[in-house]
């Protein structure tokens, strides 16, 4: 667990300069901290508070409100399956069952090797591609169990160091929400 590096501090100061008031940079600043350590650490909260002229308690209160900041350690790969209506209608329940079986964990848990965290999340704004899974910054749409297995195989059997980025099996660029309109 570490304090913010000089580089992270600089990034936060640069972001803050874009806003009329410093405190507006709080949410982007929390992302900078999370990028640095994988989670938002207590030390980073103290540093951000100092940089943006707020109290640590205030920063902590904001960080805990939003779902995209992690305060406690999570797996290297976070598999987020959408469980909201369009995805449920299109079979997200089967994906969830399959993940639980395959990884041997329940939703919200992390595999003992620290490689996978699996969560069900609310609507990802990609309902035309239901069922949808978000992994890192990639959307996987119209995801089948077979594709899901391929993704896990790919991430599971390679040394973590070989795999800084999630695989690009179904990159969103090739397949915009619900494919093409006439």
């Amino acid at each position: 667990m570490a304090h913010l590096t000089a580089e992270s501090r600089q990034r936060i100061n640069d972001i803050a300069a874009r806003y009329p008031e410093k405190r507006s940079a709080l949410l982007p600043a929390l992302y900078v901290a999370q990028e640095q350590d994988g989670i938002v650490t207590d030390e980073a909260i103290i540093d951000i508070a100092e940089l943006l002229e707020a109290t640590p308690a205030y920063v902590k209160g904001v960080a805990s409100f939003y779902t995209m900041y992690y305060r406690y350690s999570v797996g290297k790969y976070i598999l987020q399956v959408c469980g909201t209506l369009s995805c449920e209608l299109c079979g997200s329940g089967q994906l969830v069952n399959h993940l639980e079986e395959r990884l041997g964990i329940k939703e919200g848990e992390t595999t003992p090797d620290g490689r996978f965290t699996f969560e069900t999340v609310e609507c990802l704004g990609a309902c035309g591609g239901a069922p949808v899974m978000l992994l890192g910054d990639k959307y996987y749409e119209k995801l089948t169990i077979k594709q899901l297995d391929a993704i896990i195989d790919d991430l599971r059997f390679k040394p973590a160091s070989d795999h800084p980025e999630p695989p690009q099996l179904v990159p969103f660029e090739d397949k915009p929400a619900g494919a093409k309109s006439t």
Partner: protein, 425 residues
């Protein structure tokens, strides 16, 4: 007919690049729009009949005219790209495919309301759109479409992307302002409305991505051109997001007042093969569910309202005869319970109790009294919540029980959902 306005350049390869966009008529509205007086621009948008595409359908020109003319405070424009209403996925495509169209509309809107600064508030999960819009902004600065003295018109506009961090309530405009100020995303009491006191207590206009994407076309072609589509009260086109049990889910831009069944059967390729239509949520999860027999209507604000629902954000969720309506209510109430910010009691407690009861009905059957208990809870929430999130969380429950009460009763009699038992999840 389709793709008349905001999707009109979607077929052009790489139109997200500035050169391609400009080569296809992009940014051509600025010379005209930025040399018009702000009031003239507002009148033009008023005359077009454009209504907000974010969900509430408020007339855009009228909203702009609420910005006070006599303040010394800076004015702000905020583009709402939070896109979190279940069933809605159009803004993502609008930003990914044609980001400059949005920037062009924002520059014009800034001029109309006297703002020099605008923010584009994009939900944090949308890493793709965040990158694409950020790149478009850089390009636009480099070529003088943003910054000082845009294209020699003397108008200054700065735009920046602000990433969200995962919360539906953020889409509500006053909560959005709080998060933009670096606070927890709780809604604010209205009045004062943001047009008078918004971001940093300054006059602020909040508009949806699609609303703003329409502006350059209205400036280029005029109000009458825009009104050739739709009806008197529903002018122009609408991007409808269709998902659920259809063969070709996707976003389709159609003239307002296109028959809803045409949208389902022709654009979306019909209900998935071998099945028949049971119900439709016409405008995102926050509007009442319509049974199939009420779906023979035109897709516009007034017709959908007359049928007992709302156009909302135009996120159309189609369900076939295999769908359990108790399960639908349970799924959507789960969403609202998760997303309730917890600020007001009716919403925080109401969504939780509704979920507990629906969960019971679905898993173990609950009791017959539970159905009226649910309605009693919705009655205690309706119009009594601090912001519309709570008020709209009851829609699937109220309309579900109204049209499919027998399914709720069957759940009680059968000790839970038969279908769920069969499917094993």
């Amino acid at each position: 007919m389709a793709n008349e306005i905001v999707f009109s350049r979607n077929h052009i390869d790489n139109v997200k690049d500035l050169d391609v966009y400009v080569g296809n008529g992009g940014y051509s509205s600025l010379q005209k729009g930025l040399t018009m007086a702000p009031d003239e621009l507002i009148e033009l948008v008023k005359a077009s009949g454009l209504r907000g595409r974010g969900g509430a359908g408020f007339p855009t020109g009228m909203k702009w005219s609420f910005v006070p003319k006599d303040t010394s405070k800076p004015h702000y424009l905020v583009c709402n790209a939070d896109e979190s209403e279940p069933g809605t996925f159009k803004d993502r495509q609008l930003m990914e495919v044609n980001p400059h169209q949005l920037l062009e509309g924002m520059i014009l809107a800034c001029h109309a309301i006297g703002a020099k600064t605008g923010f584009i508030y994009i939900r944090g999960e949308f890493v793709g759109p965040i990158q694409i819009v950020s790149r478009a902004i850089e390009q636009a600065y480099a070529r003088g479409y943003l910054g000082k003295n845009i294209q020699g018109t003397g108008v200054d506009v700065d735009l920046a992307v602000h990433p969200g961090a995962g919360a539906y309530i953020w889409g509500e405009e006053s909560a959005l302002l709080n998060s933009l100020e670096g606070q927890r995303g709780l809604p604010r009491l209205k009045p004062p409305f943001p047009a008078v006191s918004g971001l940093y207590a300054s006059p602020t206009i909040i508009n949806n991505v699609e609303t703003l994407a329409n502006i350059s076309h209205i400036v280029n072609n005029g109000a009458d051109w825009f009104k050739q589509w739709g009806t008197e009260r529903s002018a122009g086109t609408k991007v409808v997001s269709i998902s659920g049990h259809v063969n070709r889910p996707g976003n389709y831009e159609v003239p307002l007042a296109t028959p809803m069944m045409t949208l389902i059967n022709e654009f979306a390729g019909g209900v998935r093969d071998g099945h028949k239509l049971k119900a439709v949520i016409p405008g995102g999860s926050s509007v009442p569910i319509l049974p199939a027999e009420k779906c023979d209507i035109n897709y516009d604000y007034e017709s959908i309202q007359a049928a007992g629902s709302m156009l909302g954000s135009a996120g159309m969720i189609v369900m076939d005869e295999t769908t359990c309506m108790v399960g639908v209510a349970r799924n959507l109430v789960h969403f609202y319970r998760h997303e309730s910010c917890g600020k007001c009691t009716p919403c925080r407690e109401g969504t939780d109790w509704m979920f507990k009861i629906l969960n019971e009905l679905e898993l173990t059957g609950g009791q017959m009294d539970d159905i009226d208990l649910l309605l009693d809870i919705t009655d205690n929430m309706d119009g009594k919540c601090f912001c519309p999130l709570g008020d709209t969380s009851i829609m699937s429950v109220v309309s579900g029980i109204e049209h499919w009460r027998h399914e709720f009763e069957e759940h009680v009699r059968n000790g839970g959902c038969q279908q769920r038992a069969q499917n094993g999840h």
